[in-house]
């Protein structure tokens, strides 16, 4: 690793099998190393094993096999010390609706030997004016910020956030991103799970793409996007998609600046390094074939494209039944 500082999280060959008929292998040999001070994202579709992985790391359920170290300590040996030093926000906790925001935080604060004054944590998540509001009266975004505040109240070195913005409106999501950036810049380690590629791209120093219980790609968002062969994507569809006028895959691959070609139904996707070079050449090619465009878009490549390339489907597709 680039960073010589000790690891916040290390897990090796982690597996988790849920008993049942048939048994479900939620995690199948997952390795992870998270350095101190980084914001690390587990990105993957629903059912990829992200929540199972994070809950094993949080000490909330035992692994079937594999080793886990959190802040250099192991679950089962130093549970209380680990819990004093980590903060957790679960995917779906319904905090007591009849308590106020401040009362809820004071309750959580009482469990930790050290930490912030509840009032100060409210400031961190911009909920000061809601201090005396009942939890039941908060909006979805405010509840989620309170959940993050309850994770922060013990001044943790390492923060686990499971799907922190799922189900929130765009403005609430941005607000939470701002809070998470703030936490990270204060030198804390953050491990978050998400199935939003934009979230992982904007927030995370490094991302592990998880699919079917395994890490299928690991790196900074930029590194991962570079593996596509180009940072840009040109997507188009044609009016002549089922006759002889259609350009072949090989023909498209030979256009300048094109590094990869994907056919997905009637959509064609080119990974390109320089869109301004490829576009005139593409239009020339289509013109000479007399094959009109139905649609054409160019955009920056995203982690979604990385996932599609590696897993052969989209992040919001259902898990294939195996």
């Amino acid at each position: 690793m680039l960073d010589p500082s000790p690891l916040a999280i290390r897990c090796a060959n982690l597996t988790k099998r849920y008993d049942g008929r048939p048994p479900v292998d939620a995690v199948r040999g997952l390795d992870l190393e998270v350095a101190q001070g980084e914001c690390f994202g587990l990105l993957g579709p629903n059912g990829a094993g992200k929540t199972t992985t994070i809950e094993i790391l949080e000490g909330l359920m035992p692994a079937t096999s594999g080793t886990v170290e959190v802040l250099g300590l192991s679950w089962g040996q130093a549970d209380n010390e680990i819990r004093q030093r980590i903060g957790i926000s679960l995917q779906e906790t319904r905090l007591s609706e009849k308590l106020t925001v401040l009362e809820t935080l004071t309750l959580f604060r009482s469990f930790y030997a050290k930490g912030y004054a509840p009032q100060d944590v409210l400031a961190k998540v911009s909920l000061e004016e809601k201090a005396n509001a009942l939890v039941g009266k908060l909006s979805g975004g405010q509840k989620q910020r309170l959940a993050v505040a309850s994770a922060l109240v013990g001044d943790p070195e390492l923060l686990f956030l499971d799907e922190p913005t799922t189900g929130l409106d765009p403005q609430s999501r941005r607000q939470l991103w701002e809070i998470i950036r703030e936490i990270r810049s204060a030198g804390r380690t953050v491990l978050l799970t998400t199935h939003y590629m934009d979230e992982a791209e904007r927030l995370c120093d490094r991302v592990a793409i998880v699919d079917q219980g395994k890490v299928i790609a690991l790196g900074t968002p930029h590194e991962l996007i570079l593996t596509l062969g180009g940072e840009h994507v040109v997507e188009f569809s044609l009016e002549c998609d089922d006759d002889g006028r259609m350009p072949s895959r090989g023909e498209l691959a030979e256009l300048p600046a094109v590094s990869a070609v994907d056919f997905e139904n009637s959509h064609i996707r080119l990974s390109v390094t320089e869109p301004h070079v490829v576009l005139p050449a593409l239009l020339d090619c289509l013109g000479s074939r007399q094959c009109p465009l139905r649609s054409l878009t160019t955009r920056h490549a995203s982690l979604e494209d990385v996932f599609v390339k590696l897993a052969g489907r989209h992040l919001d597709d259902e898990e294939p039944t195996t």
């Binding site: 949080e58 000490g59 909330l60 359920m61 209380n80 819990r83 004093q84 957790i88 679960l90 779906e92 906790t93 319904r94 905090l95 007591s96 009849k98 308590l99 009362e103 004071t106 309750l107 959580f108 604060r109 009482s110 469990f111 930790y112 030997a113 050290k114 930490g115 912030y116 004054a117 100060d120 400031a123 961190k124 911009s126 009942l134 309850s150 013990g154 001044d155 701002e178 809070i179 703030e182 204060a186």
Partner: protein, 358 residues
């Protein structure tokens, strides 16, 4: 807008147990429905009893006299006493009325000389037997029988010895049992369903603090509940506490601990409210039947007694009755107290051990 991170570390220590208890108390008094069920229910109960026990009129005895030339004399003799309601009916009517419970006894004048009476009554109905004897007494006297020995009567209805005095400690025990099991069991399973238990598990909270906090808060809700029942019984029925009030308070506290411990044990594993309700009924039903809430548990067969005696509700009710009715001392109640203490320790230990947090 975001503020720059306040880095001030707050080194105050907050008591986790205190915070858990405080949270429970706040959640409780901010929930109007819960307030009604906990405090409204015992009031309804005592009001219901008030209707059952107050202004009970002297029991009337309905006597049918079969049509006969001397029937009017019989009716006259009986009607002189306010206790009797007597009237003349045809033989068919008297049979029907006796069979359907509209009358207690039928008197027919026989044709013998001197005339005698024939009583038709239902030996399986206590009121019918009572009516037969009462009617006989009046008719014999009317015919000139003299009492051989002078007697005087005194009604026994002193506070401490009436059925209501027996009943109130039973109801107290019953409400402590229901409150403890439902109050703790439901709340705990609900927190499990809401994943709040899992969230707490993710903190360094001590598990024993949590369980003790739930039990302690339950005991605090119990105080007004018990007060309502005891004060109402005192004001409305003059139900007095003959022993020391402090001893009663102590017994109530021990009972509350015992049943909230049982509630915790019952709630240790279930993941749905249906499952915990079923379990709760399974635990409470034998005690409702056997522990002597409405009548003495001594009426059950001798072989069953050791089993009945070690039920926590039997222990609580027996001790409460001894102190409230007979003025027994705390020291004399060591055995039921020991039984309850054993239940508390065992259920708290087992609950802590088998508790499912996720």
């Amino acid at each position: 807008m975001m503020k720059t991170t306040p880095t001030q570390i707050d080194n105050r220590t907050y008591s986790p147990l205190g915070q858990i208890v405080l949270s429970r108390l706040r959640e409780f008094y901010r929930e109007p429905e819960a307030l009604f069920w906990v405090y409204g229910f015992p009031i309804l109960l005592v009001v219901g009893l008030g209707i059952a026990f107050r202004n009970q009129p002297v029991e009337q005895i309905t006597v049918d006299v079969q049509a006969h030339s001397a029937a009017a004399d019989v009716v006259e003799a009986l009607s002189a006493r306010p206790r009797f309601v007597a009237a003349v009916y045809s033989p068919q009517q008297t049979r029907l009325r006796l069979r359907t419970g509209k009358s207690d006894v039928v008197v027919s004048v026989s044709e013998d000389s001197p005339p005698g009476y024939e009583y038709t009554y239902d030996p399986s109905r206590p009121s019918s037997v009572l009516a037969r004897n009462a009617v006989d007494d009046v008719l014999q006297r009317a015919a000139g029988r003299e009492d051989v020995v002078a007697v005087s009567e005194k009604e026994f209805s002193e506070p401490g010895g009436r059925y209501i005095d027996f009943l109130v400690p039973g109801l107290l025990g019953m409400s402590l049992m229901g409150g403890g099991l439902w109050g703790v069991g439901f709340v705990t399973v609900d927190m499990r369903i809401r994943k709040l238990l899992k969230r707490f598990l993710a903190t360094p909270m001590r598990k024993s603090d949590f369980l003790a906090g739930i039990m302690l808060s339950r005991m605090m809700f119990m105080v007004p509940e018990v007060l309502v029942l005891v004060v109402f019984a005192r004001l409305a029925f003059d139900v007095r506490i003959f022993g020391s009030v402090a001893t009663v308070v102590l017994l109530v506290l021990i009972g509350a601990v015992t049943f909230s411990g049982l509630g915790l044990l019952v709630a240790a594993r279930p993941r749905t409210l249906e499952a915990v309700s079923g379990l709760m009924n399974l635990v409470m039903l034998p005690m409702w039947l056997l522990s002597g809430i409405f009548f003495s548990s001594d009426r059950f067969p001798e072989v069953a007694q050791p089993l009945i005696k070690i039920l926590p509700l039997t222990a609580l009710i027996d001790a409460l009755r001894a102190v409230m009715q007979d003025g027994a001392s705390l020291a004399s109640q060591w055995s039921p107290i020991l039984i309850m203490a054993a239940w508390s320790v065992a259920s708290f230990y087992l609950a802590l051990r088998f508790f499912r947090w996720t």
